[in-house]
Subunit: 339 residues, 2 copies
């Protein structure tokens, strides 16, 4: 049953609950660390053969879907906002986007040109996995991408981002429109290149009130997802800290709504509505706990989702580098074993 992930996205019956993990290809795996000792993150992203290699690495653990190895910030470079991953500091945007001139100089790039290497990697991955494991493409959502652009990197408060949103709503709108159009085109190109599902990562949108989300973010997400929903593949709409935004996110679009660990999955699903599929929602740090506890909590997530089709097991956010591979394997096995 290699299509159980896609079937669950469509809320069709499955043999067992499908499972994959955000950042399932990453530093917790020795193979990945060995490659990273020789290559930078961006070199891997920009070399389709290496992106393929890394994408495939975790699949021996038994995940039901592969996710393209890439980064949500890759569109920044072809848009004209160069950045790097500084050692131990995360992404650093060389010239943060803060003024009208900054926004105006951003290009709505053609992904086939500026992000061709991602699409090439996807084509390789799809060819390699075709008929075996479905492959997920992805992009960052406009709020999350804009927050990196404006803050210059990862923020804990989104102070400059919110300040622009409130103080210069026209400038904010123009920035969001440019980013959203790039993301829309990028997801479309990924599906054309072979992605069998796509995920929109609005990782940091949980910092907003419901009012601000609906006024300043939702219309832009809707622009992307309304188009993505016409592409014939499942669309996963993900965020963290979004307990109060779930209904608004559902209304913005998506076949599957991602849920983090801060809200019990059954409560989240009842608020989203059982006519949508859900993905989640183990705390990723539980993979650092004793494996018996990680498995126990995995079963609790399965119980919360039991009795109806449309659950994809995942973490509430990405795997952390310190995660033991054996615990990942134990959780995957527990998901497939069922309750």
């Amino acid at each position: 049953m290699h299509d159980r992930f896609l079937r669950a996205c469509r809320r069709e019956p499955v043999d067992v609950t499908p499972v994959w993990f955000m950042r399932q290809a990453g530093r917790y795996m020795a193979e990945y660390r060995a490659l990273r000792a020789k290559r930078t993150m961006l070199e891997i992203c920009k070399t389709p053969e290496l992106a393929l290699e890394v994408t495939l690495q975790p699949l021996r653990l038994g995940m039901d879907a592969a996710i393209l190895f890439a980064d949500i910030l890759l569109p920044l470079e072809p848009m004209g906002a160069s950045f790097e991953f500084a050692k131990g500091e995360g992404p650093v945007i060389h010239e943060p986007i803060r003024t009208r001139a900054d926004v105006d100089r951003l290009r709505v790039c053609d992904p086939e040109e500026g992000l061709g290497y991602v699409l090439d990697a996807l084509r390789l991955i799809r060819r390699e996995l075709d008929g075996k494991t479905p492959v997920i493409g992805f992009a960052g959502a406009p709020f999350t991408i804009a927050s990196y652009m404006i803050e210059g990197g990862k923020s804990s408060s989104y102070q400059l981002t919110k300040k622009m949103m409130w103080s210069e709503p026209e400038l904010w709108g123009d920035l969001m429109r440019k980013v959203s159009e790039v993301v829309r085109l990028f997801l479309r190109a990924q599906v054309k290149a072979g992605a069998q599902a796509v995920q929109l990562f609005d990782s940091w949108v949980g910092s907003l009130s419901v009012e601000d989300y609906c006024a300043h973010v939702q219309p832009h997400v809707r622009h992307i997802l309304a188009d993505a929903m016409t592409l014939g593949v499942p669309v996963i709409h993900f965020g963290t800290g979004t307990s109060t935004l779930l209904e608004a996110q559902r209304d913005a679009g998506g076949t599957v709504i991602g849920v983090d660990w801060r809200i019990p999955l059954d409560l989240a699903w009842s608020r989203i509505g059982f006519d949508k599929a859900v993905q989640g929602n183990l705390d990723p740090l539980l993979l650092l706990a004793p494996p018996e506890l990680a498995v126990e909590r995995t079963r609790a997530v399965l119980r919360a989702a039991a009795g109806r089709p449309g659950h994809i097991f995942n973490l509430g956010h990405g795997i952390v580098p310190e995660t033991p591979v054996d615990t990942v394997r134990a959780v995957i096995d527990a998901v497939h074993e069922g309750i």
Copy 2:
């Protein structure tokens, strides 16, 4: 009506909604920055006359309560876990608490000895403000304090904290019990020294699932709050990112439940129950927006709380240093003007 804050905590009728701000004495004020140019944060905390001076500084803006100038980490030093505020980095705990030996060497200190300077400051403040403005004492909640102890400073993931909680539940319980007992005694001593209300800051507890909160945190918070509720003063129970924890926090105790901006105040209050007072819930970064917008959103908060007694206006978290004083004043005036 200088008792409107205390009356609102008790859900008694008030002339206008009371307002105060977390971190209302701080770097956004020129007087505070001038003093900080000469003195460190800890020097101010440890010199009752200076703590008094700083506590009084913001009151000219019209707040309805004063909050003791101190820091939630002050109990660490008398417990045997020294720390400093490193320039631009926040608190740094010199020897993080991670092993059985680390927990065992922590002392359940007598606040009258180890934290006498805080109590002296409170006595000065109460004498100065008596009959004019009520004074709020405070302490950090055990999860939030323990997270600093274990991580060695502010964390974004609470990785080591959660790992101890799950992997060494006995050690975690012992640490939480020691911290909780210190906090319980400290709040008791603060009320004896003149605090007319106390606030428990569980600032980082929103990183937990409901299940983990109830299993690993709530019993310890209850230990503190059950005692605090016998002291005859209102007890404010505050956290951020707690949209899914509100019922569990209410059950743990408190006269007033603090609510952040991620959940609409009326929805939060209906979940907490109208037999409790609520405090909140403007996004503190709205004070960086144009003053008209900050005032508009202030009125929206007032509207969400209208029609019943028991609302204390506040931010969802502390004022940031970049906040213009004039906007603070405009928001206070708008609260007092009403809808």
